[in-house]
């Protein structure tokens, strides 16, 4: 199939919305697979039409899985399809692995517009191509109206580990530099702006993107990467606290070095949110020895997705699990994970 010429398939007459029959495993399922899924995602593994995929991978393998639920399904800068691919690709990258194959399991709610599904699947195709991964096996279920929120996608990914030693919180050492790959808070604010009932015009797009390229570049250049963590729901604060707690170390960051774009900062001011706790889908932290930090930042800045990389802090032996932020006016504060749901304040 010609990658460039691909366009969303037109749903067949009578198939404008998803019905329970589409998940029944019969003709209707076959029609849906043939009209939407196979044209977009087919490859050597899927085309075998077997119960699973045979894969060739050399050396140690990393594996990860993630369920994706988001409302609205389409938002500025992405949709649940690109999110489902990039989320899993990024988790593999954070293991120091080159992402290779994905599985994708879809739960559709009866009544979902078929055209929307086609758009999401097409966006998965584009994201998979961009990240250099193939969807090799999948599943499809339809549940009654009201039993799901439109569309849920679970993706599992495998990739070949290229890091010379295990990358993870246990590898973090006192003295390590903390590198942040770019400005924060875009995804969370884009979603909130798009969500019904919280209507405000922001022009902010989600940062949803694959992170494997810059990560693989760090490893290829021989940077001694101790730990990587992609920033997702819990935002920068969540990522830092998780690493500090798991490694039993302390992290101090300089608040003024953390980039927050002006629209995101403005939206956070209005909504009473802390940008440190707002979700991201295309940013990560890298913990590297201080002596290699400047070189690592230079490498990361060579890729558009991490062009805003900067050293934001250091790891110390201090109080285990403590993350402090030196503020703009000189006072320090403790960063904590978000408690429960992020709720806008009254005034």
């Amino acid at each position: 199939m010609d990658d460039i010429a691909f366009s969303c398939p037109v749903p067949l007459p009578g198939d404008e919305t998803i019905k329970l029959a589409h998940g029944g495993g019969g003709r209707a399922t076959e029609r849906l697979l043939n009209s939407i899924f196979r044209p977009a995602l087919d490859g050597p593994e899927l085309s075998r039409r077997h119960d699973g995929a045979h894969l060739d991978l050399n050396g140690p393998v990393a594996m990860t899985t993630d369920s994706h639920v988001v409302s609205p399904l389409v938002f500025p800068g992405g949709d649940i399809g690109s999110l489902a691919v990039n989320g899993t690709v990024n988790d593999l990258a954070m293991c120091g692995a080159r992402p290779a194959f994905l599985s994708a399991a879809f739960i559709l709610e009866e009544g979902l517009e078929t055209a929307l599904l086609a758009r999401v699947v097409a966006s998965m195709r584009a994201a998979a191509l961009a990240a250099g991964v193939r969807v090799v096996t999948g599943d499809l279920k339809v549940v009654e109206r009201g039993k799901a929120d439109g569309l849920f996608i679970t993706t599992t990914g495998v990739g070949t580990v290229v890091a010379p030693r295990a990358i993870g919180p246990q590898g973090v050492q006192p003295g390590d530099a903390v590198i942040l790959s770019g400005d924060i808070g875009r995804h969370g604010i884009a979603i909130m702006a798009a969500r019904e009932g919280l209507g405000f015009e922001s022009g902010i797009e989600s940062d949803c993107a694959p992170l494997s390229e810059p990560v693989l570049a760090l490893l290829a250049a021989g940077v001694d990467v101790h730990c990587l963590r992609d920033l997702t729901r819990g935002g920068l604060a969540g990522g830092l606290v998780e690493i500090a707690e798991t490694s039993g170390l302390s992290i101090t960051i300089e608040e003024q070095v953390v980039a927050v774009s002006e629209p995101v900062a403005a939206a956070c001011e209005v909504l009473g949110l802390d940008p440190f706790q707002v979700a991201n889908e295309g940013r990560f932290l890298a913990f590297v020895p201080a002596a290699e930090a400047a070189r690592a930042v230079d490498i990361l800045r060579g890729y558009p997705v991490s062009a805003g990389a900067a050293i934001i802090g250091t790891v110390t032996a201090g109080v285990a699990g403590r993350v402090s932020s030196r503020g703009l006016i000189g006072g320090t504060r403790v960063l904590d994970m978000l408690s429960g749901e992020q709720l806008p304040r009254i005034c």
């Binding site: 009932g197 919280l198 209507g199 405000f200 002006e262 900062a265 403005a266 001011e269 909504l271 009473g272 109080v319 403590r322 503020g327 703009l328 006016i329 000189g330 006072g331 320090t332 504060r333 403790v334 904590d336 408690s339 429960g340 749901e341 709720l343 806008p344 304040r345 009254i346 005034c347």
Partner: protein, 367 residues
């Protein structure tokens, strides 16, 4: 960011902190009235920049903190009725009622929606004519005009399926209650800039005179607060007790006349109970007679009148500035944002939540 960063400038902050240290000679206790100011003080570590003579204590200006339990219970009851939609500001959702909260009501099948503006709630009512839509109208003078506008627009456009559950409170009566308390330690106030943007500050002038207490209308950025503290200390050291306006870029002496007119049209001053503090005469707003038809209590029955028992929670003392959050034995142990015993641990403007979030339990305990 323009219009914001200049109020967070570290050099100017250090200069103001030096100026405060330069004028202070004796120990003084200053209360910031508004929870938004408390949040900024703890968030930016402003208190860490002050000389040891100056103590900041946190005031009652957290709207969700002072909303009585009975109103939360009523909102939960309304949310649970078939065919109703309860609309609320976001940070009311986690506030504990006597047995549950609105988040749990939503999980239990109630239609609870977060809105940013009461006019969004009115729009939901317009789009769902077959359902009863109730807006949970809480807050100080800051939110009152917009909430009044929703009632006004509902009546003007004939949207009959919309009503308000009103628990509005007013700042000056609470300041008087604090000043008249035998345990009062407050010697000066940073008045709430947003409230004064609406109301102006004429009504604070008799308070300053009668109680011999400096009142400085203050904004919410770090430099605003430092300048407010500076003006308070300067007055205290000089033996003056006046109303000063630090937040002149937003506040005029007579306030916003259009907003006040809207409030006067829709609301009337009523007695109001404050959670953790008790009943204060003429300290709240309820719907005026002409808007009775839009009162959720008329449609769904009156709110209960029990006195809330928050167990070992000392939120009332925290809200009156008589205790700081770390002085509570439950702080950070039996009471956390995940399992709050009281409301001051819930709202982002609550003093306990601010300490928990920005100071951390271990460092606070070590103070």
């Amino acid at each position: 960011m323009k219009y914001r960063d200049e109020y967070r400038d570290p050099v100017a902050a250090a200069r103001l902190a030096e100026a405060i240290a330069g004028v202070v000679a004796r120990p003084w206790t200053i209360m910031e009235v508004c929870g938004g100011q408390t949040h900024a003080i703890v968030r930016y570590g402003i208190d860490q920049l002050l000389p040891p003579e100056v103590t900041l204590i946190h005031g009652p200006g957290c709207p969700v903190c002072v909303t009585p339990v009975d109103y939360i219970d009523k909102a939960i009851e309304i949310a649970g009725r078939p065919g109703t939609i309860l609309c609320s500001f976001g940070d009311m959702l986690r506030v504990p009622g006597s047995a549950s909260d609105l988040q749990s009501a939503r999980a239990g099948g109630g239609d609870v929606r977060v809105v940013y503006s009461p006019l969004d709630a009115l729009e939901i009512a317009r789009r769902n004519p077959e359902r009863e839509v109730v807006f949970f109208a809480v807050g100080f003078e800051t939110t009152a005009p917009a909430n009044a506008m929703a009632a006004f627009q509902a009546r003007r456009t004939g949207i009959a399926n919309f009503s308000l559950l009103v628990s509005h409170v007013l700042v000056p009566p609470a300041m008087i209650a604090i000043l008249e308390s035998p345990a009062n330690r407050v010697q000066a106030f940073l008045a709430a800039g947003h409230v004064c943007t609406i109301m102006g500050f004429e009504e604070y002038e008799p308070l300053a005179r009668r109680y011999r207490v400096p009142i400085v209308v203050t904004g919410f950025e770090p430099l605003d607060i430092l300048e407010g503290v500076y003006l308070c200390v300067r007055q205290l050291e000089a033996g003056r007790a006046e109303v000063e306006n630090q937040y002149a870029r937003s506040v005029q002496r007579s306030g916003n006349a259009a907003a006040q007119a809207m409030m006067t049209d829709v609301f009337r001053v009523v007695r109001r109970r404050w959670r953790g503090i008790g009943e204060i005469a003429e300290s709240g707003l309820g719907l005026a007679e002409a808007y009775r038809a839009y009162d959720a209590e008329e449609r769904f029955g009156p709110v209960g009148q029990r006195d809330a028992d928050d167990g070992e929670c000392i939120a009332g003392l925290v809200l009156c500035g008589e205790r700081k959050p770390p002085e509570c034995p439950a702080f950070g142990t039996r009471c956390t944002p995940e399992h709050p015993l009281g409301v001051t641990m819930v709202s982002s403007e609550g003093a306990c939540a601010a300490y928990y979030r920005y100071r951390g339990v271990a460092s606070v305990a070590a103070e």
